[in-house]
């Protein structure tokens, strides 16, 4: 039972990270029908930028966090402006390759600017583990779970109560109709990329104290976030949250009870199985294709 509790904590923690990354995929997909394979790089940029700012500029963590988020946001806007927007209307394959190119580019920039080592960020509120039952919980895990909860509520408020949020929803339903209703869809795209980038960076900041960060951690985290988004049915931010948590738990349980060697494969095996049986994702609606 103690063991189970321990795996549960670990699963929820990493699941929350996948969820944050997955939400980013969903938001960008909604606004532009682009799968942003550079999403994982925002996670990396968030962690690396915070490390760089605290270590080199000597700023406290509390100041480094908003700065790192802002840097990621700028990277997101630049990605939309200089790589995705010029290829508007290109095929799915082309857009996939462009965002993959962007991810390699961003990785290259950080590799040159900061370095190839592992870097650690101090935990937000100490490293003293909290004992619950027979299991221990790292305080950083509470930060991660809490942040995810706040993000979900904030997104709900954003999409239902604010003009930019409603504009984004409208654009995702019907781009042309949204334009006719006076929505500047170009701004919607920029907002979506900035928002997704910042959510990714937030995930990177939160996880850096536990898992360390490196210029190439974005690859795997991005792919798992993509799995979360697909599992939740592409284009549903809340589906991505459910998908992310499910993947995190499945990974932790597999790692704990079956084989730690194969826990990285779990997400992909689940995705293959789900795609074979339910191509629209667990929570997605059956897709109809326009001819």
């Amino acid at each position: 039972m103690d063991e189970f509790l321990q795996f549960l904590f670990s699963g929820l923690t990493r699941g929350s990270i996948y969820a944050l990354v997955g939400i980013g995929f969903a938001i960008i997909y909604n606004a532009s029908h682009v799968i942003n394979f550079a999403q994982g790089e925002f996670v990396m940029i968030g962690g690396m930028a915070a490390v760089f700012i605290t270590a080199n500029a000597g700023l406290p963590l509390i100041a480094a966090i908003p700065l790192a988020l802002a840097i990621a946001g700028v990277a997101g806007v630049a990605l939309e402006r200089f790589a995705v927007a010029p290829a508007r209307g290109a095929s799915v394959v082309t857009l996939i390759i462009i965002t993959i190119g962007a991810s390699i580019f961003l990785r290259g920039v950080v590799e040159v600017a900061i370095g190839k080592r592992d870097y650690a960020l101090p935990a937000f509120s100490g490293d003293t583990p909290i004992r619950i039952g027979g299991a221990t919980l790292h305080p950083q895990s509470l930060w991660i779970l809490g942040t995810l909860a706040v993000v979900v509520l904030a997104l709900k408020w954003f999409f239902e109560r604010t003009r930019p949020g409603k504009a984004m929803l409208a654009t995702s339903h019907n781009r042309l109709a949204a334009q006719l209703a006076g929505i500047e869809t170009r701004h919607v795209m920029l907002t979506a990329f900035a928002l997704s980038a910042m959510l990714g960076a937030l995930a990177g900041l939160l996880t850096a104290p536990i898992t360390l960060t490196r210029f190439d951690i974005g690859i795997m985290l991005g792919l798992k976030g993509f799995c979360a988004a697909i599992l939740g049915g592409l284009g549903s931010p809340y589906g991505a949250v459910a998908g992310g948590l499910a993947l995190g738990l499945a990974e932790a349980m597999t790692g704990g009870y079956i084989s730690s060697a194969y826990q990285d494969a779990v997400a992909f095996a689940i995705i293959l199985a789900v795609l074979f049986v339910r191509p629209q994702g667990l929570f997605g609606r059956a897709g109809t294709e326009r001819v």
Partner: protein
């Protein structure tokens, strides 16, 4: 004659290049690079059938490449099966795997297809990394030399001819496939899958066939690579290697068999040529990828061919 030249002119030029290139290659290092170019080209020619002609993406072909390589390594080393037989067994196994997953996978479209092939590739990479008793794990495994009959292919010059010959064979097969009924069906499919299906093309069957063919090409190339390098590591199965293959195809030109060869050559030689800028490798690679897709969405060879045609009315 003109039709023959139009169809096979490119092939003759490519054959001439393979035959004459050794005259200007100064040393082993360059021969080794040429071998890598030809082997990557085999993968790209196959992958181009899938991406360029059938319009389906695969982000997992490094998995097939590595399966072929490891099949050769393990079968020749542990079971002392002759190299060529092992290569065929590997190709058959990979072909079977591709066939089994093709139908469910190719029913998916766009992003879902990308995800599924990516997942498959990553699972292959993880298995190779973890099953250390069989594959040697992350440290890699040594591969015995290849024998063709009594001929022990070991000098790099010998490998040049084996790889070059295999590449020409792959190109020849691909050109024939493109000219066949299946090729026409594929092009129809790329244009509009619904229209093709309405016109009686069994779209799922044809897509599955091309998927299998491209996987087998990758497997053979992987086997040859393992024997040529005499060593293989799980890196060959990695996600980034899959991306590299796709990039070669796209850079050279989708739906152009020679474009695939050119793309393979460029992206194999370029990183060596700029080795002193090693630090900036990723940065430059990413920028080239984005710029090509935005400014030359059809890739180098088709875009240049178009320019050439427009110049000469």
């Amino acid at each position: 004659m003109r039709g023959f030249l139009g169809r096979w002119g490119g092939f003759l030029v490519l054959t001439a290049v393979v035959l004459l290139l050794p005259l200007i290659l100064p040393n082993r290092f360059y021969f080794d690079m040429a071998v890598k170019v030809w082997l990557n080209a085999i993968v790209c020619v196959g992958l181009n059938l899938l991406i360029g002609y059938a319009g389906q993406i695969s982000l997992g072909h490094a998995g097939f490449f590595a399966l072929g390589a490891y099949a050769s390594a393990i079968l020749t080393r542990r079971f002392e099966i002759p190299g060529l037989v092992a290569m065929l067994m590997g190709a058959a196994g990979v072909g079977l795997l591709a066939f089994l997953v093709a139908r469910p996978i190719l029913k998916l479209k766009g992003h879902y297809l990308a995800m599924a092939t990516l997942g498959l590739g990553i699972i292959v990479a993880i298995v190779i990394n973890r099953e250390i008793w069989l594959t040697g794990g992350p440290d890699g495994v040594r591969v015995p030399a290849l024998f063709i009959g009594d001929w022990r292919v070991s000098r790099i010059e010998d490998w040049y001819w084996v790889a070059g010959g295999a590449m020409l064979l792959a190109v020849w097969l691909a050109l024939n496939l493109i000219d066949s009924g299946v090729g026409r069906a594929l092009r129809a499919l790329h244009g509009s899958e619904v229209a093709a299906a309405t016109a009686g093309v069994d779209t799922v069957r044809d897509k599955a066939m091309v998927f299998v063919v491209s996987a087998v090409f990758a497997s053979i190339a992987g086997s040859l690579f393992a024997h040529a390098e005499r060593f293989i590591t799980p890196q060959e199965a990695g996600f980034l290697r899959s991306i590299e293959f796709v990039t070669m195809v796209v850079l050279g030109g989708m739906a152009s068999t020679f474009g695939a060869v050119v793309g393979a050559a460029l992206l194999t030689v370029l990183p060596q040529a700029v080795a002193e800028f090693q630090d900036y490798k990723h940065l430059a690679f990413g920028a080239i990828l984005i710029a090509t897709m935005i400014f030359l969405p059809k890739g180098l060879v088709p875009s240049l061919a178009e320019l050439f045609r427009r110049r000469r009315p």
